[in-house]
Symmetry: C2
Amino acid sequence: MQKRAVARRVGIADVAAQAGVSLATVSRVMNGSFTVDPTIAARVRSVAGELKYQANPVGRSLARGKTETIGILVPDLANPMFQAVLHGLSSAAAEDGYRVLIADSSETSSEESILAAEARRRGDGVVLCAPRMNEAELNELAPSLQPMVLINRNASDGTPSLSVDYAQGIQELAEHLVELGHRRLLFLSGPETSASNRLRLLGLDSFRASHPAVEVSLEQCGFSFASGYDAASLVVASGATGVMAFNDLVAMGLLSGLHEQGVSVPQDLSVTGFDDIPFAAYTSPPLTTAAVPLTMLGEQAWHRLHQLLQGSVPEEPETIFRTEIQVRGSTGPARSLPAM
Amino acid sequence: MQKRAVARRVGIADVAAQAGVSLATVSRVMNGSFTVDPTIAARVRSVAGELKYQANPVGRSLARGKTETIGILVPDLANPMFQAVLHGLSSAAAEDGYRVLIADSSETSSEESILAAEARRRGDGVVLCAPRMNEAELNELAPSLQPMVLINRNASDGTPSLSVDYAQGIQELAEHLVELGHRRLLFLSGPETSASNRLRLLGLDSFRASHPAVEVSLEQCGFSFASGYDAASLVVASGATGVMAFNDLVAMGLLSGLHEQGVSVPQDLSVTGFDDIPFAAYTSPPLTTAAVPLTMLGEQAWHRLHQLLQGSVPEEPETIFRTEIQVRGSTGPARSLPAM
DNA sequence: CAAGAACGAGAAAACGTTTTCTCATTGGCG
DNA sequence: CGCCAATGAGAAAACGTTTTCTCGTTCTTG
């Protein structure tokens, strides 16, 4: 006899009926429009409170044509690097009242297009963080994904992008190792699909050109802790004394693998990472690495996207962030170097 | 003369017009209904392809009454513990075609209710991960948030929950320290708002009861790396030889602070963490900690929520996960212990 | 005092789908 | 050959808001 409808959601219509006004008026009151009589407004607010009315975001989004939500596509949510970017993005977006929807491709580049389109369509814009898809695919997809911001990639249509100068970073790391006396360097290369990996390779090419006396070899590896761990034997066998890992995760895995094989770092071998993820400073030994402003990357991505959402044209399409070498315990003088 | 509308989104109506059928038919084709003539279906599909039509998720959500999206509320997205849970949740949800919306309260408990309600209303359900709000608030809020799953909290309305047995975990850690000969223990307590911290305190009470000869003191600390770092002096001054940090983050900060003060771990002091975040094994020294199945917690949360969304009543309201002590390098024999 | 402006609030259209009705056509069967 | 069932597709209602129109009042002003 009392409440027969089992739990029908209270809608704007219920409030309107109860308060004896029209839907429009309720909507106006709830949105803080001043064009409504204070008496009525108060009554509506009171009824809304009683009924615990809260606007349905889906209906509102449809009517307004925007969701106040953005999507982010990451290749691997388990990777602290992307976690840091996500955190920066989410915090910054939250400050402007926007929420973030996650799309994690789990390093499956073939799924990216679909996930990106999905994420984009569910929100007002999207951030593609280091997508693994190839150049052609990205260029084709880009126009349909606007407004969008790219991280560590570029599209031919001038989509705003935030990039890290990996080429410079890896060169500085190599330079650092050479200064320590290392002459045989090894780079543990990341996924072929990674654009930032290609940039590192480019950087190494420049380095080779300017340092003909230094041997810089290459080994295909991966992006994860496990791949670094598995590479330990290869690394030892290579005879290199300075090893640059694709990223901190790989470096940490390598450190772990080397430790198990009784190789001491940095006495026997120097190891560098890349990214400076939050825990790179606390490995044993602490990791020498090229610091990427990860959280800031996320924050800036939001600010760019926010501008786009407000209809302003981006002033500079591409922003490039420099890395900063953090020298820590995992690198030291080359073993064969005569004491000075 | 060609395309005057600057970029109007192509909708179901465009496809219908172009294919010479009704909206309903297009919808049926796009949703794979078999009640439509193959010839027409093919034509619609072809037109849809040409026009690159993709259904607007907002309109669809409104019509269907569900968004295939869930929300998650976390106290701090910068914390690897919550990142791991989020990762588990997101992966598991993705497998069933659901996406995850993030709400990060940044440890501001007063904002949680609003954020939780928001996140819930935007999706079909919500996961509250270790909310900091008090008991009363949680109990009051819970009914309005259904379907929901709680992690490390309980609500009076029988909301399904996934909990970790922190009381048992902290006792095992204390036990471990005592076995190493430590008699003066110190617990670096986490936020008062943290329910799991209260459980740890409860565990320590039991421990005290069963080990009257052991001194277990307490120091208010925090949840972050920084708070652990700052606590180093206090810890040294306390005279304790075994320190249990609130979590791995605090432990790592403490390790760092102690290192700076020239205190060696575990020779001078033993330190334990809690959670076993992905990098706890790679600090220097590696952290002895109580492993919480973080990713699994996220996955299970999804599975529970998924059941709820499909209308099945949860069999067991609360699932409790045990922790597993990982003994690593940060704990060792008490210094003053006579050699045996 | 009357005419126009300003104002406040209701009616209705719009947002983009899905889904229930409804109806026309076809095919089968008695 | 006619009737009923089955089939396929269109019309329209529904989802829950916002927002544009529109219109009736009241206030202002000449």
